[in-house]
């Protein structure tokens, strides 16, 4: 696959070493080892209750590991897009004000981030009045303010319809191209994820398998978890790739190449 221009690879931003997390007697994660390199997109897939969110929350430091370790690069800038953010209707909050939490940002920086996230005209709106797609874009804009080295998304497209989440992932991909950050995300929408990711990690309390999207999709561990039904989705995606390949359009299909090869 084509490398990101000017992006040195090989330095890990976060490394989990035999991470084990227990919640009230239940072991949610056991012996998870994972490294996230600069500029790569890593997607964690797994059934409900497989510990995906726990993994992300350990990475940002919201959970203390009960075993193993989480090592972050010193002064790592993380942009976090939470799974869902319930904003209490009693809390008045404009999009612009939301972006200045907790660190005040200039109007220029705020509109830049909104533009980058595809939410350019929303600054004056109330957070509680946004649609699902608009809300996620605002969350993305907020995560971009810190000029993150690592963007973390927790089921960021939950509640969006199919075109909505596809558009959102395209936005993420575009953002990654622009600022060259690594992306760590958790998702259910396997075919969209597969297309965009450098590496897929299949999680069910422990890492069942990991690797390039194509490798994981055909791994027996993955099939045992998700069945073969997703093959259809992957095929659908492949079809799109072949199609675009035929008429030599200018935009980048690099990542899709990898998935299909």
């Amino acid at each position: 696959m084509p490398e990101m221009p000017g992006k040195p690879r090989g330095m890990s931003l976060v490394s989990l070493n035999g991470l084990t997390v227990t919640y009230g007697g239940n072991t949610v994660l056991s012996g998870v080892s994972l490294k996230i390199q600069e500029g790569e997109i890593v997607t964690v897939v797994g059934p409900n209750g497989s510990g995906k969110s726990t993994l992300l929350r350990s990475v940002i430091g919201a959970l203390k590991p009960s075993g193993g370790s989480v090592t972050r690069t010193p002064h790592l800038r993380i942009g976090y897009v939470p799974q869902k953010l319930h904003i209490d209707p009693t809390l008045p909050l404009t999009v612009r004000r939301f972006l200045s939490l907790p660190v005040r940002v200039s109007d220029t920086r705020a509109s830049e981030a909104l533009e980058q996230a595809g939410a350019g005209n929303l600054a004056a709106r109330q957070m509680s009045g946004l649609s699902g797609g608009q809300f996620q874009r605002v969350l993305l804009a907020r995560a971009l303010l810190s000029n993150p080295q690592l963007l973390i998304l927790d089921e960021a497209t939950q509640g969006l319809d199919q075109p909505g989440s596809a558009a959102f992932y395209q936005q993420i991909e575009k953002v990654r191209q622009e600022i060259g950050c690594a992306v760590l995300m958790v998702s259910h929408e396997l075919h969209v994820v597969m297309a965009a990711s450098d590496r897929v990690v299949c999680l069910n309390g422990h890492i069942c398998c990991e690797g390039a999207p194509e490798h994981v999709a055909s791994a027996p561990e993955y099939r045992a978890l998700f069945g073969t039904g997703t093959q259809g989705a992957l095929a659908l995606y492949r079809h799109e790739h072949n199609h675009s390949h035929d008429h030599d359009c200018g935009h980048d299909h690099g990542r899709q190449h990898e998935a299909a090869e």
Partner: protein, 268 residues
């Protein structure tokens, strides 16, 4: 300082001081759905009054200590198999009951229980004023200092973590501010009505605010209006002062809700 010789002026200043601190803090109580938490902390303070009287320490210190103890107990017990509202209900009412029983053990001390339950704003002295304004200033300073972190933690604990803010610490800041407000407000509105001074101005401010800061400012204004206006009403109609303040606050809330409905339909 001849001005402060007038008990009505002292009472008005006391009420305004409490409202000034209680209303912005009340916004957090509203946003975080901590209404019962505020209630429980306030109710526990009657136990603090009893303890302060029996150990001969200042009421302010006794109330502050029990309110803090109450709040930390609730935080510690939360999520251990009881729903929050059950836990708060148990603790609030039992501490009120224990407080009332403890007060009855105090022989030789003549205390007017009503003054602590419903406040005794007309008896506010210069020393009380100093405590009230000192406490209010401390609460406002705390909120000012932690404002952004508090808002972020209120919005979402994980967002706070990602920004390097410890939500539990912010919770402790709010707990401390709440205990302070309870301790200074007990003289003004009494333990049973403190939660009203927290909640009602904040709720009344909601329809007119587009940002959290504006909501806190409007709540403070409405709170001060309720405190001074309620006192005047109490003087004119010869009604109990603390409840009159809360009645006026409630009337402001009703008016603002109605105005909010009109605003909403205009926007559509």
């Amino acid at each position: 300082m001849t001005l402060l010789d007038d008990f009505l002026i002292r009472a008005a200043l006391a009420g305004i001081g409490v409202a000034l601190a209680a209303a912005p803090l009340g916004c957090f109580v509203v946003w975080r759905r901590m209404a019962y938490f505020g209630d429980a902390t306030a109710h526990a303070s009657i136990l603090g009054v009893a303890l302060a009287l029996s150990f001969d320490v200042s009421i302010f210190a006794g109330v502050l200590a029990t309110a803090l103890a109450m709040a930390t107990t609730v935080s510690a017990l939360a999520g251990r198999g009881y729903a929050m509202d059950t836990l708060l209900g148990v603790l609030a009412h039992s501490s009120l009951a224990f407080g009332l029983v403890a007060v009855s053990f105090l022989s030789g001390v003549r205390i007017d229980l009503m003054a602590y339950l419903f406040g005794d704003i007309l008896a506010v002295g210069r020393g009380d004023l100093a405590v009230i304004w000192g406490g209010a200033a401390l609460v406002l300073a705390l909120l000012w200092w932690r404002w952004s972190a508090l808002l972020t933690a209120t919005l979402n604990p994980d967002l706070a973590h990602a920004a390097g803010i410890d939500p539990r610490r912010e919770q402790m800041v709010l707990t401390l501010a709440l205990a302070l407000v309870v301790a200074v407000a007990i003289k003004v509105v009494g333990v049973l009505l403190i939660a009203a001074m927290l909640l009602i101005p904040a709720a009344a401010a909601r329809p007119f605010a587009a940002t959290p800061e504006r909501m806190a400012a409007i709540a403070a204004l409405l709170g001060m209006l309720a405190a001074s206006g309620g006192l005047q009403l109490a003087f004119v109609f010869d009604t109990p002062a603390g409840p009159s303040i809360v009645c006026l606050a409630a009337a402001l809330f009703a008016a603002s809700s109605a105005a909010g409905v009109v605003l909403q339909s205009h926007r559509r």
